[in-house]
Structure formats: structure tokens, C-alpha cells
């Protein structure tokens, strides 16, 4: 099962009384692009953040390429070998809704920071690759600019390149276009689409129905902390099993048409 890149089993996450993610299981195979859609507050982002331990789960387990990186049994964290956990987490890259670029570092420095500090690479070893990534996201000319000087779309493309600079196997994207002005959404989606075309494994929380429908291999619908459907876009967008989804899609597609 080495092609099973991400294996989420019965994961739960509570915030105090609120159960944000309830007993969710989800598998992503190598090269698959999976989007998570659903109404706000349905636990999509929380689930994504649980994967790379920005949130700590209180039930279930998560494995990356067959190796568990976190497991909770009967409310207790299972002790896992730290090295394996670290190497598992290293296979994950993350793109945030609000970019979270390092404002005191130039674009190229944002890209090479983690490879230099975490992987102890020399600048000369990583910079050519970083430049390559910048040209891939169409920002070669911004290498020496500081994030404050960039548009939202440019910032997010830098953030994608920064995540890719660590050579992740799986890219997690948390509403990558939700903080953007409408006219800047396209340039970011184009980059994600290109990555999908290169068979980057991706899990994308999104409100962009067209992206979910046209680019993704599978679409997962979450509602009130549960996955209520996990299907191909063709199925989910035309003939979902759940009436709740129909309602949601009708509203979203109307909104998109209105724009």
C-alpha cells in the first residue's frame, strides 16, 4: 500500500464542548488531487490542520505513506518514534489562507529559509531550485522583493513555492484563494492546476466549486464535522446522494453565476 500517501482513520477533534471533526476517515493516494468542500464551520480546515499537527487530534490516527505520525487510543497519545514522526511530517507541505509569508525576508529568502535552517543546505545548493520554483509560479522577477510589496495573488504563489521548496510529497492547501480579491483567484488556481497536472498529491480545502469540479480526482463533502460524501466530481456535482449537498451546491453555483 505504498501508494496510499495519506491515511486518516477515525479522527476526532474537539474544541472544548464543540466537536469540530467527528470520526472522520479519508484516504489519499499518490498523485491524487482531493478537494474538501462544505459549508463554513463544517470542520474542513480543522481536519486539514490536524494532518500536520497544527491541531492535535483527540481520537483516531493519521499515517503518511504507511507510517503513523499520530495516534490516539482511548484518549491517550500513543508514543511513536520521534524520528519517524518527523520524517512523516516532512513529507507534508502547507499553504495557508492568509499566506503567512515571513515579512522580514525577501521572496527568495522565504523559499530558502526552511531548506537552509531545517535541512542545513547551503544557499548555493538550494537557490537554483528556489529560482526554478519562482519561475514556475511566474514570479522570477520578484525574487528580491519583500512580501509587503506583493499583491495577494503573488503572495499566495510565493507561499506555494515556499511549501514546494521543502519537496513535500503531499501539499495541503487551506482555502488558498479565500483571502484573495476575485480577480486574483485565477492566477493562484492556475498554479494549483499546473501542480495537479504534474501529479502532485494534493488535499485542498476550497470554496472554488469550479476548481473542485474540473481539477480534482475526488471531492469530499463535509458537514458538521462529518464526511457525508466522498465521490468523483462527476458524481458529487451532478447526482449527490445527500440532499444537504444538493442544497449547498445550488447555493454555491448560484453565487458563482452571479459573479
Amino acid at each position: 500500500m505504498t501508494d496510499l500517501y495519506l491515511d486518516i482513520r477515525s479522527v476526532s477533534k474537539h474544541f472544548g464542548e464543540l466537536a469540530a471533526v467527528k470520526d472522520v476517515s479519508l484516504q489519499v493516494r499518490k498523485g491524487e488531487v482531493v478537494s474538501i468542500i462544505g459549508p463554513s464551520g463544517s470542520g474542513k480546515s480543522t481536519l486539514l490542520r490536524c494532518i500536520n499537527q497544527l491541531e492535535m487530534i483527540d481520537g483516531g490516527e493519521i499515517a503518511i505513506e504507511g507510517k503513523r505520525i499520530i495516534a490516539v487510543e482511548d484518549g491517550d497519545r500513543v508514543k511513536l518514534p520521534e524520528k519517524k514522526v518527523k520524517s512523516g511530517l516532512k513529507k507534508l507541505g502547507m499553504v495557508f489562507q492568509h499566506f503567512n509569508l515571513f515579512p522580514h525576508k525577501s521572496v527568495i529568502e522565504n523559499l530558502i529559509e526552511a531548506p537552509m535552517v531545517v535541512d542545513k543546505l547551503r544557499r548555493s545548493e538550494i537557490e537554483p531550485y528556489a529560482q526554478e520554483l519562482l519561475s514556475k509560479v511566474g514570479l522570477s522577477d520578484k525574487a528580491d522583493a519583500y512580501p509587503n510589496r506583493l499583491s495577494g495573488g503573488q503572495k499566495q504563489r510565493v507561499a506555494i513555492a515556499r511549501a514546494l521548496a521543502m519537496k513535500p510529497d503531499i501539499l495541503l492547501c487551506d482555502e488558498p484563494t479565500s483571502a484573495l480579491d476575485p480577480e486574483l483567484v485565477g492566477e493562484v488556481l492556475a498554479v494549483l492546476k499546473q501542480l495537479a497536472g504534474e501529479h502532485m498529491t494534493m488535499l485542498v480545502v476550497t470554496h472554488e466549486m469550479s476548481f473542485a469540479r474540473d481539477v480534482c480526482d475526488r471531492v469530499v463533502f463535509m458537514d458538521q464535522g462529518h464526511i457525508i460524501e466522498d465521490a468523483s466530481p462527476a458524481k458529487l456535482f451532478t447526482d449527490p446522494d445527500h440532499p444537504r449537498i444538493k442544497l449547498f451546491l445550488r447555493k454555491m453555483l448560484l453565487d458563482e453565476a452571479a459573479e
Binding site: 511530517l89 495557508f96 522580514h104 535552517v117 521543502m166
Partner: protein, 213 residues
């Protein structure tokens, strides 16, 4: 004119001690305060409490009283510090307390997104602090730190109470001997020169750190 030069020379000798205490205070209190601030922000609650107590004591009592305590007060525990040791210790702990609170605020002003981005890139705690959080916090804390650094120039005059001959005391010595205001005028000029250097230096730092606007 000769007289004024003589006075100035005498005051500059007093100035040496002022500058020594100034340097010792900044060199030791700033790193101390960075560690204490990190302890308050990311350490266990007990450590936060202890450091909060330290800040409360040293910010809540007069510097003069603290100076008395470390010079005279410690003798009841059979600890006898030289005037310079006592003054250095007092100033480092006192300014450390103020800097700790300033730096704590600066570190807290860095949003959670920066920590999350660093964590998602697999940076550990020290890497995150050293490379991402502290450089940004430094910029935030520069203006209040400048204020403290200016105040410190003048606070050094307090060491006269434990018998040390610094700048202002040298001026007073001449005043009592010759009954002229010239030494105070010269002292005024010297203090202004010293604070100007401090202001210039910090303004230079602020400009250097504004590169990413």
C-alpha cells in the same frame, strides 16, 4: 576658558564610571530580558509566575531602594558587594525587568500565522524564534527600548548614594568647592551629548530594520 576645560576634564573622569555602568547594564540586561521574555511567552506557567513576580518587584519599587538593598541590605546576609558590583547587579536586574516586559509584548505581537508557517516548514522552536519571531519582534520593541536606553543614561547618576563618583557627583564636588554653576552647565552638555548618541544609534537601527516595509 581654562577653568571650563579643567572642569570638563574632571567631569569626563567621572563620566568613565557612568559609561561603565551603562555598558554593563545594557550588555547583561538585554540578553537576560530576551530569555525571561521567552520564558514568559513559551515556558511553563510556573516559570511565567516566577518571572512575573520578578518583574513586579523590580518595576514596583524605586531603583534607589534596590540600590540600597544590594549595597547595604545584603550585608545582613553576610554578603558584601563592591559598590560597582552592587550597582551593576541592581541596574541589570532593574532594567532586565523592564526590558523583559517590553520584549514579551514584542514577541506576543507576532501573529500565530508566523508560528504555524514555521511549524508547517518543520522548523523547531529555537529555529522559529531565532529566525522568524525575534527578528520581527526586535523591530516592534525598538522604540520603547530607545526610551529605556535614554533613561538609563540619567539613572546612572543614582550610584552616588552608594558612594560612587560618577559624572553628576564630580560636578557637585566642584560646585561645592568653587561655588560656580559652570560644572553643572558642563554636566548638562555631557548628558545631552550622551543621550544624543543613544538616540542616533537607535534611530539608525530603526531605519536599518525598516527595510521590509
Amino acid at each position: 576658558m581654562d577653568y571650563t576645560l579643567q572642569v570638563t576634564a574632571h567631569l569626563l573622569r567621572g563620566c568613565v564610571l557612568t559609561l561603565q555602568i551603562y555598558a554593563v547594564t545594557l550588555i547583561f540586561s538585554i540578553p537576560l530580558a530576551v530569555l525571561c521574555a521567552l520564558g514568559r511567552v513559551s515556558g511553563p506557567r510556573a516559570l511565567d509566575r516566577v518571572l512575573g513576580f520578578y518583574g513586579w518587584i523590580f518595576r514596583g519599587t524605586p531603583l534607589l531602594l534596590q540600590l540600597f538593598f544590594f549595597y547595604y541590605g545584603l550585608t545582613i546576609f553576610n554578603i558584601s558587594l563592591s559598590p560597582f558590583m552592587a550597582a551593576g547587579l541592581t541596574f541589570v536586574l532593574n532594567y532586565g525587568a523592564y526590558f523583559m516586559e517590553i520584549f514579551r509584548g514584542g514577541i506576543s505581537s507576532i501573529g500565530a500565522g508566523q508560528y504555524e508557517a514555521a511549524k508547517a516548514l518543520n522548523m523547531n522552536y529555537w529555529q522559529t524564534m531565532r529566525r522568524i519571531v525575534l527578528p520581527q519582534a526586535t523591530r516592534v520593541v525598538l522604540p520603547p527600548t530607545t526610551n529605556e536606553a535614554i533613561t538609563l543614561v540619567k539613572d546612572t547618576a543614582l550610584v552616588v548614594v552608594i558612594g560612587m563618583g560618577e559624572l553628576l557627583r564630580s560636578a557637585k564636588e566642584i560646585f561645592t568647592r568653587d561655588f560656580t554653576l559652570i560644572p553643572f552647565a558642563v554636566a548638562t552638555v555631557i548628558y545631552l551629548l550622551m543621550t544624543s548618541v543613544v538616540i542616533r544609534f537607535f534611530r539608525y537601527l530603526e531605519r536599518r530594520m525598516a527595510y521590509y516595509d
